[in-house]
Subunit: 219 residues, 2 copies
């Protein structure tokens, strides 16, 4: 252990963040403890708590997240599922049009171009976003995760088209126009009829640490 | 002009592709001529035609596109708009699950992490994809472009979630399950009621080089 470092040393803080990224990406959020991150960084666990507080906060900081999407989404869904699709699209654009938008785009760029960050992003989205949405929806957990995943597919595509590749007319469309166009589809994913396919999917989803799914049927 | 280079020289071919990328990204597809690419690359225009045939093909080659998405989409829409949403989602997954999938992912990575490629991608999607879809839909052109743009937002998000960040359950779901879940939303964007918001968009969309469109009539 490199105990010679003083608290407040920016190298120490960075070493903890680097260790956290590696472990969260490799083992996943649940299997990564503050203690294991401290060991990997060569510091005392108390120092990790001192710098970052909770494991949740360390996770957000290691992603350089400019806001907590889980909390933001919870805020949207706490007002009820009616109209949540439109509120969610509006909130996402509010973030991307704010000063935090640059940092949020940087995270997506990292996740797409760097495998470590892609794995971090997977954990981040699953833990901080999908599970929160799934919990707030009044449906069985697996169905909630699927619905949240579908929502993520539409939101991620909107961010790509409007903010990253910037394709017209969506790139320059007024916020409320986009809310009116895309909100209903997000609402459909949250509360609409998914045609019974979600029940089928519940039995096929591979789980971390479990056997690989072999029953994938391709046409 | 570096006329000392012989036809078949891989450096010449690469110089043409590099010049094409710069010009397509900077000026857009329409404003870029074979002649201007030849001048920028320091070769005779005849050599550009010799290597790449048409400007369309040079565009595809400069993006390193493993297939022509415009042709593929035209194939989907030529069978009629009924069920086109599901066929489109199925076709996209067919490409990404094929050997061409790696090259297709590489293009998206480049577009997200590199500004030159982002601008290329914008031109590519607008010209090779959105305009084809818009043409095949039996609606006014501006409405067709908006609908195609919305389709692109859902398809881009599906690719991100399933193939790039790989979030479960969508990453491992059987193709036909995903078709059943996402196809209806794509179909809605192609032929559904967009709630009149698209009419408003007509007055705000910035146009490349031209006057603003004022004559758009949307439902």
């Amino acid at each position: 252990m490199r105990t010679g470092r003083r608290p407040g040393n920016p190298d120490t803080r960075e070493a903890i963040l680097a260790a956290a990224r590696e472990l969260f990406a490799d083992r996943g959020f649940d299997a990564t403890s503050i203690r294991s991150i401290a060991t990997a960084a060569g510091v005392d666990p108390a120092l990790v708590h001192h710098y970052f507080g909770t494991k949740d906060q360390l996770f957000l900081d290691s992603m350089q997240a400019p806001f907590d999407p889980g909390e933001a989404l919870h805020g949207v869904l706490a007002k009820g599922v009616d109209g949540a699709g439109e509120r969610l699209v509006r909130m996402i654009m509010g973030i991307w049009d704010s000063p935090a938008g640059g940092a949020a785009t940087a995270i997506i760029r990292s996740a797409v171009s760097n495998d470590l960050f892609a794995r971090m992003m997977r954990e981040f989205i699953t833990h901080r976003i999908l599970r929160r949405i799934a919990k707030d929806l009044d449906v069985p957990r697996e169905e909630g995760l699927l619905r949240a995943n579908l929502v993520a597919s539409q939101i991620a595509g909107l961010i790509m088209v409007r903010y990253i590749v910037k394709i017209e007319p969506l790139a320059s469309a007024p916020v409320e126009t986009v809310v009116g166009l895309i909100g209903p589809n997000v609402q459909h994913y949250l509360t609409g009829d998914l045609g019974g396919v979600s029940a089928e999917l519940g039995n096929r989803q591979p789980r971390r640490g479990g056997p690989k799914s072999r029953d994938r049927e391709l046409p």
